[in-house]
Amino acid sequence: MDFPALRELAAGNAWMDILPEISLGCLALFLLVLEIALPRSRHRWIPMASILGQLAILALVLARFHTGYGSTFNGLLVLSRGGQLMRAFFLASSILVSILARSSLPRQRVPRVEFHHIVLVVTAAMMLLVQSRNFVMLFVALETVTIGLYILVSYFRTNPRTLEAGLKYLVMGALSSALLLFGIALLYGVAGSQGLPGRTADAMQYAGLRSFLEANPHSFMAAAGIVLVIAGVAFKIGAFPFQIWVPDVYQGAPTPVTAFLAVASKAAGFIVLLVLVTEVFPPYEWLVGPVLTFMAAATILFGNLAALKQHNVKRLIGLSGVSHAGFILLAVIPAAHSPAAAGAVYFYLFAYLIASFAVFGVMTILAGDDDSNQELGDYAGLAKERPFLAGVLACGLGSLAGIPPFVGFAGKLFVFVAAFRSGHYGLLLVAIAGVVVSIYYYFGWIRAAYFNDEPALSAEMRRRLAVPAALTLRVALAALAAASIVLGFYQGPLGRLVSGH
């Protein structure tokens, strides 16, 4: 047998382009080897090995940040600054998920090494996902991510709520994949049909599809395909009207997995959408613009209004995440015309990563044996007895609410500026109403932790907090809180990265 493409690749040394992804895969396998090779008493070192390995890979990504941009693997992948940013983003979030899991998993009777293994595989797939410029590649990477997440979501399999979450995520995920696939099939089919100008047999490739769409800017079939593709991606980012799974799944999933879903999976969806909107769909802006505008407005309103009445913090943060998806969409819409808007998306995602993990970290520490059952009332007296945790929580929530001096404010500002530049004034008014509403529930959370009239932790919370949190987790939380403040004052490095200077 002869594989000319593979031989070509081997000769061109293209494998080096995806070294971070390959290293992650190898690290994932290495963890399984360690589990077999090490005696049982040493198994608790395996998560640490995973974290250290990921840190090394992160260093590798950062060291080669500005090298090797361009198309590779016959155009399946395109390495770019945005891709490098997202590699670092996914690594940062997987490191934080591993740190959270290290504290969270031992409370449950579940195997631990597999969890870390799957997180690594999913992370590698996310990296490929955001760099793919081909629908086949996109779908394969997306399925790898999704299947890994099916397992992770239902990881605490003795908890009925977790199983419910797993089932819901499976059904909804499968549906979204089906929609996406149907959309791709329509686009591929119409692009290859006889008699249309610009017909191409290579419509799986983004560039090929783009040139076809430019030649046929008003094809009904193509429009239907585009809407279906957007719908498939909208499931991932939890945008209206495909947000309905969010509260149940976020509540039932183990907290580290909730964080992974909320940050990394959502970011992956956004970058896929961003790439599609900027590189493939511009000829159909007459369609994509209104669809996304409606989606953004509805997402902001739904997320904020639904979050108002939540008492369970996991549902609350899930729904607040829905509203954040709406805010990010504000900058995705004009991204086709403005690099600054695309930069605003990246900046917002990083700000969201920092703020969300600060909150999820505190949630992990406060979680009891039933991970899905965390109420606002559990936070009563936290500020008095655990000022560090309360401070981190306040930094995270303040940043999510978009209040200076936290980094979330800069993120919101750039998004608003981008939306204003493109003239979406009505959408901005909706967004501002959303921010004001969101203040209510973020403030309610802060109030639970700080202003409660009975400033003492309940006996149950005392028991949960009796075991001090792991040092790595506390260091990570301190670093996140510090980052949210420092980047709020001095957006320097991140600002330069997103503005491309």
Partner: protein, 506 residues
């Protein structure tokens, strides 16, 4: 003027922040108080130094002095930490320094629970205030305002009195709405001007050569008017203010009512008027009607009906903001310079009134004016200071407020006689409630309830911890009242540079 080694504006912002950081990182208890003195004192010293040297300092374009600029990595967006003062921001910067020092001293002598956190939040708030008025960059102007605003919410929520949770929530939502609307207006200026810079000086130059169209100006000014208006408790968006001030701990109320609330007016005077003169003209009548009838008359009568001392001070501060809005609505140099004077005078006097009413409460254990009376015999210094503060707030000659109100009234003469009549009625109203409050609390027969409280806790006169901040505030009020030129010269010079609304109308 500012050398790379001595930048008084940066020091004034950074010193409280550094002290706050040190406290947060766990300084031993005995150091906290000393550090806090430094944190509250340094900005006041810097403010006085800047005020003293302002006349001689080299002025750059638009009358700004002490300019310094630092990159925060967002040069591509036209954002940078640029600090500087002109004649409009200088008086407010000094006001922030003085009131901040007084509020700090008052907080240090109070026996608040969780003192460390309290001081920390006050210091952060002070840093935000100094930064707001020293910022030449609109991004940081807004940023520092929010930095000062957030601690207010937390302080009301933790150390507040009655209904503190409700008050904190209401303030948060109202003020966030105001802040978001004004942010939208600022973004609008940034984008529509085409300057791609948040620097006020650049924005002014750009808009002077290429003014915005009238429709755009009207819309943006409307956004800013209602955004900033909510922050300054423009009627009918004022209901957060009396409630919030009634619940807020005294030092937070002093800083918020005295200084932070002036942010909205300052934004209108420094940003909205010079950049959007046509918008100001368009909204002038409506603003005058809202503020004149709503803030001055309606709230004036509401204030008269108050029985609660702290609520009354809160409502009176809402009412006096009406005069400031009228000065802006008049749209003349005279009116605007009156607004700046009034901001300073009102900031000092309302801070003093909040301080004194808390001191009254500590002696009477109630804010209900019906259950007081005759306190002057037991606490003469407190009574004397309270009466002086009331005179200042009414606007009697000799105090800073007088010059502010007088210039505003003069400017209203050229704007609308009817509005002037309304405004003058307001002074009578404010004299009625101010003097009646002083009479009810300090003079006349002692009420039975107070008699019981006094028997249980014999009241003592003001201690030095309370006297010192009060003396600082009253001295500043008298100083400006007797020598207004010390502040008005700079204001006039700054206003004369960019032509405000009246000039553009011609």
């Amino acid at each position: 003027m500012s050398s790379p080694f001595f930048d008084p504006l940066l020091i004034a912002v950074a010193a409280p922040l550094c002290v706050a950081a040190l406290i947060a990182l766990g300084t031993p208890k005995r150091w906290v108080v000393k550090l806090a003195y430094a944190g509250f004192g340094v900005p006041a010293l810097m403010a006085l130094w800047v005020w003293w040297n302002f006349g001689a300092a080299a002025k750059e374009s638009h009358g700004y002095a002490f300019l310094s600029s630092r990159s925060t990595g967002l040069d591509a967006f036209g954002i940078g930490l640029k600090l500087g003062l002109n004649g409009i921001s200088l008086p407010l910067f000094v006001l922030a320094g003085l009131v901040g020092f007084a509020a700090g001293l008052y907080a240090l002598q109070s026996k608040a629970e969780r003192m460390k956190t309290y001081l920390l939040l006050l210091l952060v708030m002070l840093a935000g205030l100094m930064g707001t008025f020293a910022s030449v960059d609109v991004f940081f102007f807004y940023f520092f305002h929010e930095l000062a605003l957030i601690p207010t919410f937390i302080m009301v929520g933790i150390w507040g009195g009655r209904d503190r949770t409700y008050a904190a929530m209401m303030m948060t939502i109202y003020l966030t709405l105001g802040a978001m609307l004004s942010l939208l207006g600022l973004i609008a200026i940034y984008v529509k001007s085409g300057a791609s810079s948040f620097d006020i000086m650049v924005l002014r130059d750009t808009l002077a050569s290429r003014p915005l169209g009238e429709v755009a100006q009207n819309h943006i000014f409307g956004l800013l008017l209602f955004g900033f208006g909510i922050l300054v408790s423009l009627w009918p968006f004022h209901s957060w203010a009396p409630l919030g001030y009634g619940a807020a701990p005294s030092s937070a109320a002093m800083l918020h009512a005295g200084v932070l609330k002036k942010f909205g007016l300052y934004g209108l005077v420094q940003i909205a008027l010079p950049l959007l003169p046509l918008g100001a003209l368009h909204w002038g009548r409506d603003l005058a009607a809202l503020a004149g009838l709503g803030n001055v008359l309606v709230i004036g009568f509401v204030t008269m009906a108050q029985r609660d001392l702290k609520q009354m001070v809160g409502y009176s501060s809402v009412m006096h903001m009406g005069y400031a809005f009228l000065g802006i609505a008049a749209g003349s140099l005279l009116g605007v310079s009156g607004v700046v004077m009034l901001m300073v005078g009102h900031g000092l006097s309302v801070a003093l009134l909040f301080l004194l009413s808390t001191s009254v409460y500590q002696r009477t254990h109630t804010f209900d004016m019906g259950q007081m009376g005759g306190l002057a015999q037991k606490t003469p210094v407190l009574a004397w200071l309270f009466v002086a503060a009331t005179f200042a707030s009414i606007g009697l000659p000799g105090f800073a407020n007088f010059w502010g109100e007088l210039t505003i009234f003069l400017s209203l003469w050229y704007f609308s006689h009817w509005i002037l009549v309304v405004a003058l009625t307001g002074t009578v109203v404010s004299a009625v409630y101010g003097l009646r409050a002083a009479a009810r609390v300090f003079f006349g027969p002692q009420s039975e309830a107070l008699g019981r409280v006094c028997a249980a806790h014999p009241p003592s006169d003001l201690g030095w911890g309370e006297r010192l901040p009060a003396f600082i505030l009253i001295a500043a009020l008298l100083f400006i009242g007797l020598w207004p030129r010390s502040f008005s010269a700079g204001i006039n010079a700054a206003l004369a540079v960019p032509p405000p609304a009246a000039a553009a109308a011609r």
